[in-house]
């Protein structure tokens, strides 16, 4: 199958530029964030750029196929993804410790990341007919989608990767809401939402994760442990004030007061070095990107495209807002990368593939 040349005219250049700017900001910021590492910035930047080029290749492949065709085959992707997640669990257990990634040819990949868009595709394929006919989902109807969400989510939380698990659950539920729910289903989901934290606390969460929650509630309870990092992150962002300390001038991350300041805590670097001003610009870039996702969903040719675009927009929105909230002590510390900005090949590939899907949907919004 060849891409119709006319389709290329309908490539969403707005989204492309928005994404490129975000990625550019990310790379630029990553140089500063990794400059204090013993090995220097170079390796990080190279790896990130390699992931970016692979990601672009992935976009081209995705554009090549109709998103509907991809969604129709999503059960294979889903099963493959699930297999990898289980594999990580098994390898992790065999290694006698927690593991979130598997090594393939020396490259560490994090299957839980890839699981996020796969589930979106899977749910879209499962539910688009319902949406098309505006059939609200009853209790019986949400059983299959719930299983599709929770099986991978629980496995991922078990890894333990609480952050990605939460993103998957929240994105999945958002899609269910987007498709439309009956009142009774709302009631059930609210009940579920109310008890799930307790279930998670009792059965799923590891002691260190519980510590994070506790230190979120009382930041001074453990001033040397998790509370300490949360506090240092807050100090970093706050000390940036209006215009920030300047590029490469952030002392909090450079002097190692903040762990994971190149991945999950990357926003502290922006907040510290670029201040309120720079943070607003970053927020606007994300808001515009997410806004665009909603727009693409609205303009999509069919419900399957709308659900996919909405799901991706939700995913990016959740990751962005929770990640930032983590850094400014509005959310407990869970491992969630900031799309486009955080260091990490799997995360970047996932975001780029998702962007590919968005472009795909947008490009095929007209019938010829």
């Amino acid at each position: 199958m060849r891409i119709d040349k006319r389709r290329l005219y309908h490539l969403d250049w707005y989204l492309i530029i928005n994404g490129l700017v975000l990625f550019g900001v990310g790379i630029f910021n990553l140089i500063s964030a990794t400059s204090s590492f013993y090995s220097g910035s170079f390796n990080f930047i190279i790896k990130q750029l390699v992931a970016f080029f692979i990601g672009n290749g992935l976009i081209l492949i995705i554009l090549h196929y109709d998103y509907r065709a991809i969604a129709h085959q999503s059960k294979w992707l889903y099963m493959g993804g699930l297999l990898l997640v289980v594999l990580v669990l098994i390898i992790g257990m065999a290694a006698g410790g927690a593991k979130r990634w598997i090594s393939i040819f020396g490259i560490n990949i994090q299957p839980s990341e890839f699981m996020k868009p796969i589930i979106i595709l899977f749910l879209a394929n499962m539910l688009y007919e319902r949406k098309k006919h505006s059939v609200k989902l009853g209790l019986k109807d949400i059983m299959r989608p719930m299983a599709a969400i929770f099986i991978p989510a629980l496995l991922i939380i078990k890894q333990p990767d609480l952050g990605t698990g939460i993103i998957i659950v929240l994105t999945g539920f958002s899609i269910l809401w987007f498709v439309g729910l009956k009142k009774s289903t709302y009631a059930l989901l609210f009940a579920l939402g109310a008890i799930s934290p307790f279930i998670a606390w009792m059965y799923l969460m590891k002691p260190y994760q519980k510590m994070r929650i506790l230190s979120f509630i009382n930041i001074d309870a453990d001033p040397s442990g998790f509370g300490y990092h949360a506090k240092q992150a807050m100090i970093a962002v706050g000390s940036g004030r209006f215009f920030g300390k300047g590029y490469m001038e952030g002392t909090q991350h450079k002097l190692q007061f903040i762990p994971e300041h190149h991945t999950d805590f990357i926003f502290t670097v922006i907040g510290e070095e670029w201040g309120f001003f720079g943070s607003i610009i970053l927020f606007l870039l994300f808001a515009a990107f997410i806004w665009r996702c909603i727009k693409i969903a609205q303009n999509a040719n069919d419900e399957i495209g709308a659900i996919i675009a909405f799901g991706i927009g939700t995913m990016i929105f959740l990751q962005f807002s929770i990640n930032v909230m983590m850094a400014i002590h509005l959310a407990p510390v869970v491992g969630i990368p900031l799309p486009f900005i955080s260091y990490g090949g799997s995360s970047l590939l996932t975001v780029l593939a998702s962007t590919g899907l968005l472009l795909n949907i947008n490009m095929r919004r007209y019938m010829f």
Binding site: Q232, V237, G238, S239, R241, L255, S279, I290, G313
Partner: protein, 607 residues
């Protein structure tokens, strides 16, 4: 059908609207929070982040160097490694403390004690835990850095005494300032862990030697490691001091008094400049400078031989026969005796129902003042003393400076005692008995003098009625090499004595060393004529045990134009002639042989 589609669209549309509303809502929350953190509380957060990264560290100023008269270094500073703990940077208190205990030879109690002492200070204040650790320990700490957050190794100048024990009592030592001292007003610009002169010249000249500590603003990382220096105020080194002391002479005495107890002081009678000052037994000042251990301190403090005592200025002993010079001076000066006055010595002097013995059992026969000094006849001075009365002896002593502090530039000098009727009345409320005068005239009884006071007597005779306050420091020189203070000789006694008085006493003292019958004939020198007076003082035995007599010798040389005055005391040394005089001989020999050699060398040059 159309209505249905329209309905469906509105339902879907409302979902999009809600999505956008949620997006905007969350964005507003984020912005409000950012505004709060970065704008409202930005100042505070900035301060917190600065506090995180910036530490103000003291840069200890190197203490002033101490030189001898020839510019040889006696004490200076060298780098040492000290361990500090910064409370604020400790992540896990027990881990850090236990780590230190297992790596260094230090007990947990000692660490806790030190932390306790600095309780009132901010948690960012580094507390010194151990001073002058070895390179091995430095390596151990460095290798385990990761497990010891909050622990820092600081390189700081440390006092080093090149000759150790040799100058212990003169130069003294520096040591960490104590809690009690810190509470005193005069030490208000010192902080815990600072070193301060505690003894000897280090204490007396603390203000000059100390210098001004500098300050360094450094950036530290989350483990408290220094990353870079942001700003530095360089320390100003302390001023150097040049002494009147001659290292060679000090070394001669140091060797002569090795394994003995006693003291020796050598001064230049023309200026009061101290050429050497040795007290034995001594301690090692370097032990104090590197943070003395409890055991070492106790060993020194509890030592029964009192190594911390500077016997030259703090040891009070009966002067014995050396005191006869005072009696002789007053007798001749007051005209009670003259050159022709003769007393008969039969080996004893009956007075008040008892017999005061002369050291020579057979007696000296008919003795004039010259023989009385040369042969140290006791009976002659018993007679003289009775004629003089204690008050006149006291009067002469007071002029010379005996019985009171000499004013030497060392801390904690002790006075002495030359009794008088007034003194007895004041102290005991009793009248003076003439019989006591008999003992005092030969330097026994209630006469207590330090070696430093007796060197004043030697100087007094050598200088014919003039002596100066002994002074160790010659000049103080700033780090740039500018002389900022010199010390002019300060006159202690200046009296016009009769020519005959001076002549007779000087001839007598010359005879002591140079005449065959002199008590110190054994210590005569070939090239130079030394004058002196021996003394053998009965000691008040410790706990009733008599350990022997104290040996004294005071001297000056050369006899005709003296340039050195010496006072030697050997505790329980026995006879002054055998125990003390040889020390003076060695000093004189060393001083004047060297001068002769130099003269010869110059002659060779001129040829």
């Amino acid at each position: 059908m159309e209505r249905f589609i329209k309905d469906a669209n509105t339902i879907v549309d409302s979902k999009y609207t809600w999505s956008k509303r949620i997006l905007v809502f969350i964005l507003i929350i984020l912005l409000v929070r950012l505004w709060d953190l970065q704008i409202m509380r930005g100042q505070e957060m900035k301060r917190l982040s600065e506090q995180n990264r910036i530490r103000i560290k003291k840069v200890v100023a190197p203490r002033g160097v101490i030189y001898d008269k020839k510019g040889r270094i006696l004490a200076d500073t060298r780098p040492s490694f000290n361990i500090y703990i910064t409370h604020e940077d400790i992540k896990n208190f027990d881990q850090t403390i236990d780590g230190l205990v297992s790596l260094l030879k230090i007990s947990k109690e000692e660490i806790m004690e030190r932390l306790e002492a600095t309780k009132g200070l901010p948690p960012s204040f580094p507390v010194k835990i151990k001073s002058d650790i070895s390179m091995d320990d430095v390596a151990k700490i460095e290798a385990n850095r990761v497990y010891l957050p909050g622990v820092n190794i600081q390189i700081e100048p440390k006092r080093f005494y090149h000759y150790g024990k040799m100058f212990a009592h003169m130069i003294g030592y520096v040591s960490e300032i104590s809690d009690d001292e810190l509470k005193k007003k005069e030490y208000k610009d010192y902080s815990p862990g600072d070193y301060i002169g505690k003894y000897g010249l280090e204490k007396a000249y603390e203000a000059y030697l100390r210098g001004m500590d500098g300050e360094k603003r450094v950036e530290v990382d989350s483990r408290g490691r220094e990353v870079r220096t942001l700003e530095q105020k360089d320390p100003i080194p302390g001023n150097s001091i040049y002494l009147n002391v001659d290292l060679d002479i000090q070394a001669v005495i140091d060797k002569a008094l090795e394994n003995r107890r006693g003291g020796c002081i050598v001064v230049d009678p023309k200026t009061g400049g101290v050429i050497a000052l040795v007290s034995r037994p001594a301690f090692d000042p370097n032990k104090f400078a590197s943070g003395i251990t409890k055991q070492d301190w106790q060993a020194i403090a509890l030592d029964k031989t009192h190594p911390l005592q500077n016997r030259v200025i703090q040891g009070r002993y009966p002067p014995g026969s050396t005191f006869k010079i005072v009696s002789a001076l007053k007798g001749l000066e007051s005209g009670i005796i003259n050159e022709r006055t003769i007393f008969s010595c039969r080996g004893g002097f009956p007075y008040g129902g008892r017999v005061f013995r002369c050291w020579k059992k057979g007696g000296h026969g008919s003795v004039n003042i010259h023989r009385a000094i040369v042969e140290s006849c006791d009976v002659f001075f018993y007679n003289l003393g009775l004629k003089l009365g204690v008050d006149r002896i006291h009067e002469m002593s007071d002029i010379i400076g005996l019985g009171r502090v000499t004013g030497i530039d060392l801390p904690s000098e002790k006075d002495g005692l030359v009794p008088s009727t007034e003194w007895k009345k004041k102290t005991y409320g009793q009248p003076w008995f003439e019989g006591e005068t008999v003992s005092v005239s030969i330097g026994q009884g209630a006469v207590w003098l330090t070696p430093a006071q007796l060197v004043q007597l030697a100087s007094f005779v050598a200088n014919e009625g003039i002596n100066y306050k002994p002074h160790i420091v010659n000049r103080i020189v700033s780090p740039e090499g500018k002389v900022i203070k010199t010390f002019e000789p300060v006159i202690n006694a200046n009296v016009k004595l009769k020519k005959d008085t001076i002549r007779l006493v000087k001839e007598g003292m010359k005879g002591v060393v140079n005449e065959g019958s002199g008590t110190a004939y054994g210590s005569r020198l070939e090239n130079v004529s030394m004058s002196g007076k021996t003394g053998t003082a009965q000691s008040v035995g410790e706990k009733g045990r008599n350990l022997g007599d104290h040996a004294w010798f005071i001297a000056y040389a050369p006899s005709d134009n003296p340039s050195v005055a010496i006072s030697v005391l050997v505790e329980y040394g026995g006879h002054g002639s055998s125990a003390a005089a040889p020390v003076a001989k060695m000093v004189t020999d060393r001083m004047f042989n060297e001068k002769k050699e130099i003269k010869e060398a110059r002659l060779n040059e001129n040829r």
